[in-house]
Every structure is written in structure tokens, then in C-alpha cells.
């Protein structure tokens, strides 16, 4: 689109002067999300405050055929908020209000720019919390979480974001404002909110979200278990599930990951272990000590060298700090990495992990693995140096091969980060042409002109240019 004075004046008339950014600096600041390998600057950045303003922007963009890409905090790891085809980048950071909280019905209406962790803080006085907890939760927005159907360590017990969405006031590409779902657990009529969740901004702009809140657990126990092999740790995960225990979270860090975290945070992680598992159980106080004991027994039977319970809130916080800081810790090493998000059936984790090390090793590369083990969701990182173009290309190939292994083991290419731009090329290996064609038909119903976050999720149809 042209950034003419007339265009900017029209946008400023809709949003006020401070709602429109068009400087070179601002456009470059928004040219990617947390996947910095893919870039594309927007023509104009717009910052609406209300649903009406979003609808006005959508109508404006529709009338001019301009692409519209929504963005929350930009923590996405798949390029979903990168405006590949220019146009307007709609940033929700000024739509950050809690609109209503109904403690009796355990739900809250929020604007999309409200930060994830903030909602749980606001719900805490009512004994409630918002369960999905992506590692980005101190900064990532609820609108982005819903658009991505975000996960997090505690999805094992509490479910992914889609399980916590009740209603969505959505602005469609033509500017129509539609309320999908509502406050009740089962909305009348067609359940469109469930499919808009996870559609990465390609079906509409989420403007008001009704989210489920759940009771904060009465009690929490966190334990760390270390193992002489990753395989033993993975088998422990399967055995815990098979024993009928669904912990709140089961997270695995391998030695490489522990080393980079330890160099930074000095938490006292067991660096001589091949893997550490963090297992957390939550629920009624009376239920937890027996669960902790059973998990310990199962883990020892599967080769755990030590089983330690976090002695209090501070120790628990330290364990989670180590886990949730691992991306940052890798970033601090000064090396670059490809981060993957594959999922396999829980019982195939050991196999998948062995394949990750082998594939990296074959190319002379280092890989570290972190996983939401309870959910079978792997986050391997393949490392390379900034200026080593050969290694960079090899790492990308290893990353793709790792995701192919996930597919072969009965899993998928993304558990929680999304497809965005990053994984489009693998969608044809994940789905059959007919599956993708049906998805295209559905997308077309929401956005016939394909202007809502264009170029994401779905590869171009066979026989057309991508």
C-alpha cells in the first residue's frame, strides 16, 4: 500500500495521531516476531483501543484491499505476526483492559492485549486463575495466546488454551463484528469460537475474549528427579501417566540445556545427570503426598538417581525459573539456534530424543532438548554460530528432519507455537492435499479476499505460485 499523506490522515482520523506509526524506525521494530529469521516490515503500524476502532480499520483496509495482520506482544516463535505482505500491522498493546470478571461463573471478559500473567493476578483475589501458562506469560498477550492456541507446562493437567476459551468477539475481514460463543459453557448454535481459536489471525481479529477461570489449587508440590539417561526420564513420564497419575506438569531438561541454564542462573542443577525431570502435582492438599510418593517410587524403578521435593515456595520458584529461562539461557550463549516444537505420542519420546541427537551429531552440530514431556511436546534446539553459513544451513535441515521424525512417530510439527511462516513448507508433509484444500475452503469462508494475515498456515494450492 502507499504511505501517502492522505492515507495516513485517514488512519489518524480513525485512531488519533498516537494510534498510527509510520516512521522507518517503528516499521523496522515490528518487522518480525520472536522468529527473527523471517522478516517483513508493515507499511503502517496501527494501535487501536476499542473493538469499534478495529472494525473501522478492517472496513478501511477492505475498501482498499490492504492486508491486515494482528500482533500481540510479538513473542510468537513461528512468524505468525510477521507481516509478510506489508499492509497494516494491528498491534493490540493498547487494548489491554480487563472488561469484566465473574467469579461465580468463573469467567472473565478481556481485551486481547491484556498480558497472560496479569489475568491470573487479577483473578487471584477470587481464588481463581487462568490455567494456560506459556513460558512467555509475563509478556505475551491473551489475544496472541488464543490466536495461537498456546500451550505451556501446565497444559498437561489443565488443557491447552482452546479448552479455556468461551467466547470471542471477532472482527472479520470486511469489518463485521461477530460474537462467537459466550459466557455459558456451551454456547447455542454453531461452535465457531473453537475453530477461530488457533487460527493465527487468519480468520479475524480477536477483540474481546471470554476466558474460563479455574480454581487455584489448594496445594502444590514440585519435585526434581535426575537421571543417568534421557531414555530413563522419558520412560518415567510414560509410566507415571500409565499409573493413572496426571501431574500438573512434567518437564524435561537435558544436560546441554541444564549447562546453559546453570552458567547463567547458578541454580545448582545436577550437571552430571543426562536429564532432569521437573514434576509438579497440584490439587487438594490431602491428595498430594501419596501422589508424590508414588511418583518417586515409579521414578526410582525407572532409574532415577535422586528424587528431591522442592522444600518451599522459594525452591519451587527456582526450579521453574530454571525451566522457563532456558530459551533466554540459550540466547545468552551468543550462539544461534533453531527451536522446534514437534509433538510425538508420549510413549515415543525416548525414540524421538535419540533421533534428535543422532541427526545433529551426523551433521557435526550440537542439539539440546527441553520438553513438555507429559504432553509429548519437544522443544529441541539445534545450535550454530552466527557467521557459519554452512552450519546454519545444516541446522535448518536437521530441524526439518527432526520434525519429519515426529511425523513418522505419529506426531505433528507443532504442539503449541503454530505454523506461521516457519512451518508452511512442512504442511504438505503433515496433511494430504485434500485436507489442505478443505482448510482453504474454510479460510475462504471467513476471509474470501485472503487479506487477514495473508501467507500464513496454509501453503499455496498446488499449481499456483507460493
Amino acid at each position: 500500500m502507499d504511505r501517502t499523506p492522505a492515507v495516513l490522515a485517514e488512519l489518524r482520523a480513525l485512531l488519533g495521531d498516537d494510534g498510527v506509526l509510520d516512521s522507518e524506525a517503528a516499521r523496522l521494530a515490528y518487522e518480525s516476531d520472536a522468529l527473527t529469521l523471517e522478516r517483513g516490515a508493515p507499511d503502517v503500524v496501527v494501535l487501536p483501543r476499542t473493538t469499534d476502532e478495529v472494525a473501522a480499520l478492517a472496513r478501511w483496509a477492505a475498501a482498499r484491499g490492504v492486508p491486515l495482520t494482528p500482533r500481540g506482544a510479538g513473542t510468537g516463535l513461528a512468524g505468525g505476526a510477521t507481516p509478510r505482505h506489508g499492509g497494516l500491522l494491528l498491534v493490540t498493546s493498547r487494548m489491554d483492559r480487563l472488561l469484566a470478571l465473574d467469579a461465580e461463573r468463573r469467567c472473565a471478559w478481556v481485551q486481547p492485549g491484556l498480558v497472560n500473567a496479569r489475568l491470573s493476578e487479577l483473578a487471584a483475589p477470587h481464588g481463581l486463575m487462568f490455567a494456560p501458562d506459556p513460558s512467555s506469560q509475563p509478556v505475551s498477550t491473551l489475544g496472541g495466546n488464543v490466536a495461537a492456541n498456546a500451550g505451556g507446562p501446565h497444559c498437561l493437567k489443565h488443557g491447552v488454551t482452546a479448552n479455556h476459551v468461551l467466547g470471542l468477539v471477532t472482527v472479520l475481514g470486511d469489518g463485521a463484528v461477530v460474537t462467537l460463543g459466550g459466557e455459558a459453557l456451551d454456547a447455542p448454535g454453531a461452535d465457531l469460537a473453537s475453530v477461530v481459536t488457533g487460527s493465527e489471525g487468519t480468520m479475524g481479529i480477536l477483540c474481546e475474549l471470554c476466558l474460563r477461570l479455574v480454581p487455584a489449587p489448594e496445594s502444590v508440590h514440585t519435585m526434581s528427579l535426575d537421571f543417568a539417561s534421557v531414555e530413563d526420564a522419558c520412560r518415567t513420564v510414560s509410566a507415571v501417566i500409565a499409573a493413572g497419575i496426571v501431574p500438573a506438569a512434567m518437564e524435561l531438561m537435558d544436560r546441554q540445556t541444564m549447562e546453559v541454564v546453570e552458567q547463567w542462573l547458578h541454580l545448582g542443577l545436577p550437571l552430571d545427570a543426562a536429564a532432569v525431570l521437573i514434576i509438579e502435582v497440584d490439587g487438594p492438599a490431602v491428595s498430594l503426598p501419596p501422589q508424590v510418593e508414588r511418583i518417586g517410587t515409579i521414578a526410582r524403578a525407572h532409574g532415577a538417581r535422586s528424587v528431591r521435593a522442592a522444600a518451599g515456595p522459594a525452591a519451587r520458584a527456582a526450579l521453574w525459573r530454571g525451566r522457563k529461562s532456558s530459551n533466554g539461557a540459550y540466547g545468552r550463549t551468543g550462539r544461534v539456534f533453531h527451536l522446534m516444537d514437534g509433538t510425538v505420542p508420549r510413549s515415543r519420546l525416548a525414540e524421538a530424543t535419540a533421533a534428535i541427537y543422532r541427526l545433529a551429531d551426523e551433521r557435526g552440530l550440537h542439539a539440546g532438548v527441553l520438553m513438555h514431556a507429559g504432553d509429548g511436546n519437544l522443544h529441541p534446539k539445534v545450535l550454530f554460530d552466527h557467521d557459519d553459513l554452512v552450519a546454519e544451513r545444516a541446522a535448518l535441515e536437521v530441524a526439518q528432519d527432526i520434525l519429519r521424525v515426529c511425523l513418522r512417530l505419529g506426531g505433528t510439527i507443532s504442539g503449541e507455537h503454530g505454523i506461521g511462516l516457519e512451518k508452511i513448507s512442512l504442511m504438505r508433509e503433515t496433511f494430504a492435499p485434500a485436507d489442505l484444500e478443505v482448510m482453504r475452503r474454510l479460510r475462504g469462508a471467513f476471509d474470501p479476499a485472503e487479506r487477514m494475515n495473508p501467507g500464513k498456515i496454509l501453503p499455496a494450492a498446488e499449481g499456483t505460485d507460493s
Binding site: 461465580e104 461463573r105 492456541n149 488443557g159 479448552n163 472479520l172 463485521a176 463484528v177 461477530v178 462467537l180 459466550g182 455459558a184 459453557l185 456451551d186 454456547a187 447455542p188 448454535g189 454453531a190 461452535d191 465457531l192 473453537s194 475453530v195 488457533g198 487460527s199 501417566i241 500409565a242 493413572g244 496426571v246 487438594p284 490431602v286 491428595s287 501422589q291 509433538t343 510425538v344 505420542p345 508420549r346 510413549s347 504432553d375 509429548g376 505419529g410 505433528t412 507443532s414 504442539g415 507455537h417 503454530g418 505454523i419 494430504a432 485434500a434 485436507d435 489442505l436 484444500e437 478443505v438 482448510m439 475452503r441 474454510l442 479460510r443 475462504g444 469462508a445 474470501p448 498456515i457
Partner: protein, 407 residues
């Protein structure tokens, strides 16, 4: 392929289809849809007929597509807590397969021996444990399905976390056969609880109007908290001998937690009239789910299902109204209220309950569905119409117009 029963067995609202086809494979099902789309015929997919028994007849109904021959478990890995089955598999069969491994299918529906996986998903069926277990869309991880034009496709997968592609498997939950035909689905299972306990109490209108008592009961986080109202309680295997209404509290957890909850309940409500353990408790949950289809087939009472009910406030319009009360049943944790009024009182009752903040989500056994308090806005109707046209361009699925239009 076994010869299916005659068309009259597949009547909906008294209207029988012109033909019945019972495919033996997914490919045959798709081929039948392709042929119907080509010839301009309309199709209703059938599972066990549990939900369809009370449905309103579609405007045109040429072919009943009986999917019950597509049954059987395709993949079940107990260590993964996931199960994939063909959509004609009955809930009872799924329960039997998982119980052997100490696991549970987190789906509920009336008539588990007949209700099929596909039918439960398509109907968005639930039961007394709706809040604890989630809705079908919360449990479905992926599905294979056919569109009205016979296109075979899938979405999602067999793993518990998956954000690759659009979640058509969630969209098809609750679509009542109007948007696509479910053929195979993968479900996220649950470990079976170490202990199930049902406590049954008598109760009355005064106690049911006590909001503080409801709050205290719900704060115990029971797996089920169902009140069976006037004129319906006697249909349960256990019912209070003296009171007009029966309160069933369902507890499912480890033994220590269940003991703790049960003790708190007895302090609050006194000794129960009955205690049912484990399998007997599970049978009672099923009996509560079965009550949903009471009165069917049409000719007896209608069923209106509302959601969003705050218990005390929701029951007031029922309990305070003059004259004979319709039968009713409330699953309190999910705020889901089923009412079985005489046909003539449907509009009045719908209005009164809607004004009390309840949302009508289903109407069965009514020749004409009740008018909603707030019809869907035009923009929502247009969006639904575009979705239906995109997925079923020839309008082959007979319940498509209802999916598009209904509240």
C-alpha cells in the same frame, strides 16, 4: 454389508427417508455422499439415533446414511492416554476397552449402548460431569471426516498437543451432521478415578432456592451435582422416599479426597438417603444422562436444554410458577438445565427462563423449535452461511440449514 432395517426405522419427527445406506467403509460413505451431491439428494448421517430421535425433521430427507458398521477401535495406546476409533463405535464399547486399563473415556451421553462416538461429537452431548470432563470439543484431538460432496479429509492428529492447521474436528463437534460427516476420531482419555461415590439426598424447593447452600456445595468441586426435579426423580433407581426432588452428589478422586468431600457433605446436608460406590455410582451417572431423552420419541413431552444457569436463580422461574411444574433436571456445575414441558407451554417457558439469564441451546421433540430470545445477528448468520457453502456447496447434508440458522 448387512441389510439395514427399513426406512421407517430412520424416521425423524415422523418423516422417513426415501432410502437407507449402511456403508461398510469410509470410502463407501464418501462415495454415497458424492453420488447424493451429484443427484441433488439430501443426506442425514446416523449413529445410534439417540439425538435424532427428538430432532425436528429437516426440510428434505432423502437418504439415511447409517454409520454404525464403521465401528471398532483403530488405535489405543494406554501409555499415551489416547484412543482412536471409528465413529460408529458405541460409547459402551469404548468404555469397556478403556476400563480394562484403568482408564476412562471422558464422554457422556444418553443410552451408552447405542450412542456412537460420531453421534456424541456431532450432538455435543454431555452428562452430569460436563464441567469435570469438558465438552466433546475439549476432548477430540483429531478426526477423519467426509464433506457433503464426498471429499475425505482429516484435521488434528493423534497427539495431545497439536496446533498444525485448522481445527475442523472441533468445528464439527456440535454440528449435528449439518456440516460434515465424522468417520473416525481421536480422543484424549482420563485415568479412571481411584474411587467413585454417589451420595443421594432428598431436597425441596426451599433448599433449592438457597444460593449460599449452592455456593457451598459447588465449592467442594464435586464431579457431579445434579438435581432431579418434580415428577422425574421417581425414574431414577434411587430417589428420596419423602422429598419431591433428589440431589445427587458425585465424587470422583483418590480415596482420601473422596472421604474428605463426603464428610463435608454430611456435615452440610446430614446423612444421605443412599450411598452408591464405584460401578453403582457410574451406573447412576449413566441413569442421569439417560433422563435427557426421557419422553422421546415425540408425542410425549418436549425437551428444552438451557445453559448458563446459576442454580438458585435458574430454578426460581420453574419452582415459583403457579400450576403444575414440568419435569426438570439440573447439572449444576455446568449450569445445564433440561426441562420437559408440554408442547403448549414451550414458548412461555422459553421466555421465562431466558429472562432469568439462561441460554437455550437445544430443543427436542418440538415440531417447531421455540423462537430464541435473541436471534443470531445477521453478520453471524452470513458467516455461517459462507462456511456451510464452502464445506457443502451442493447442500447435501440435510441438517445444514439448521446448523446455519439455529440459535
Amino acid at each position: 454389508m448387512n441389510a439395514p432395517p427399513g426406512p421407517e426405522r430412520y424416521a425423524i419427527g415422523g418423516v422417513a427417508p426415501r432410502a437407507v445406506f449402511r456403508p461398510a467403509t469410509a470410502a463407501e460413505a464418501a462415495e454415497a455422499l458424492r453420488a447424493a451431491a451429484r443427484d441433488g439428494r439430501t443426506v442425514v448421517p446416523w449413529g445410534g439415533g439417540v439425538g435424532l430421535a427428538g430432532a425436528t425433521a429437516p426440510p428434505r430427507y432423502d437418504l439415511a446414511l447409517d454409520l454404525t458398521a464403521l465401528d471398532g477401535i483403530v488405535a489405543y495406546e494406554p501409555d499415551d492416554l489416547t484412543l482412536t476409533a471409528a465413529c460408529g463405535t458405541t460409547l459402551a464399547a469404548l468404555r469397556a476397552a478403556t476400563a480394562a486399563h484403568g482408564q476412562e473415556v471422558p464422554l457422556e451421553a444418553a443410552h451408552a449402548g447405542r450412542a456412537t462416538l460420531g453421534g456424541i461429537l456431532a450432538a455435543n452431548a454431555s452428562g452430569p460431569r460436563r464441567l469435570r470432563l469438558g465438552a466433546p470439543r475439549d476432548r477430540v484431538l483429531g478426526a477423519r471426516f467426509a464433506l457433503g460432496d464426498g471429499t475425505l479429509a482429516r484435521s488434528g492428529g493423534r497427539v495431545v498437543k497439536n496446533v498444525a492447521g485448522y481445527a475442523l474436528h472441533r468445528l464439527l463437534c456440535g454440528s449435528r451432521g449439518g456440516l460434515g460427516v465424522l468417520l473416525e476420531a481421536t480422543i484424549k482419555l482420563e485415568p479412571a478415578p481411584a474411587r467413585r461415590l454417589a451420595l443421594v439426598f432428598g431436597t425441596d424447593a426451599r433448599a433449592l432456592g438457597d444460593a449460599a447452600r449452592w455456593a457451598a456445595l459447588l465449592a467442594l468441586e464435586p464431579a457431579a451435582l445434579t438435581v432431579v426435579g418434580d415428577g422425574l426423580a421417581h425414574e431414577l433407581p434411587v430417589a428420596s422416599p419423602t422429598d419431591s426432588c433428589t440431589l445427587v452428589v458425585g465424587l470422583e478422586d483418590d480415596a482420601a479426597r473422596v472421604d474428605q468431600q463426603a464428610a463435608a457433605l454430611v456435615r452440610m446436608l446430614g446423612e444421605p438417603d443412599a450411598r452408591l460406590e464405584d460401578e453403582a455410582a457410574a451406573d447412576l451417572w449413566q441413569a442421569l444422562a439417560d433422563l435427557e431423552t426421557r419422553g422421546q420419541p415425540p408425542g410425549a413431552a418436549a425437551r428444552l436444554t438451557f445453559t448458563g444457569a446459576r442454580p438458585a436463580a435458574a430454578l426460581a422461574p420453574l419452582l415459583d410458577a403457579p400450576g403444575p411444574r414440568p419435569a426438570w433436571l439440573l447439572h449444576a456445575p455446568a449450569g445445564r438445565l433440561h426441562v420437559f414441558p408440554a408442547a403448549a407451554t414451550v414458548p412461555d417457558l422459553t421466555e421465562r427462563l431466558s429472562h432469568a439469564g439462561l441460554v437455550l441451546v437445544e430443543a427436542a421433540g418440538t415440531p417447531v423449535p421455540p423462537a430464541p430470545l435473541l436471534p443470531p445477528p445477521a453478520a453471524v448468520l452470513e458467516l455461517r452461511a459462507r462456511i456451510r457453502t464452502a464445506l457443502d456447496p451442493a447442500g447435501t447434508l440435510a441438517f445444514g440449514p439448521a446448523w446455519e440458522r439455529d440459535v
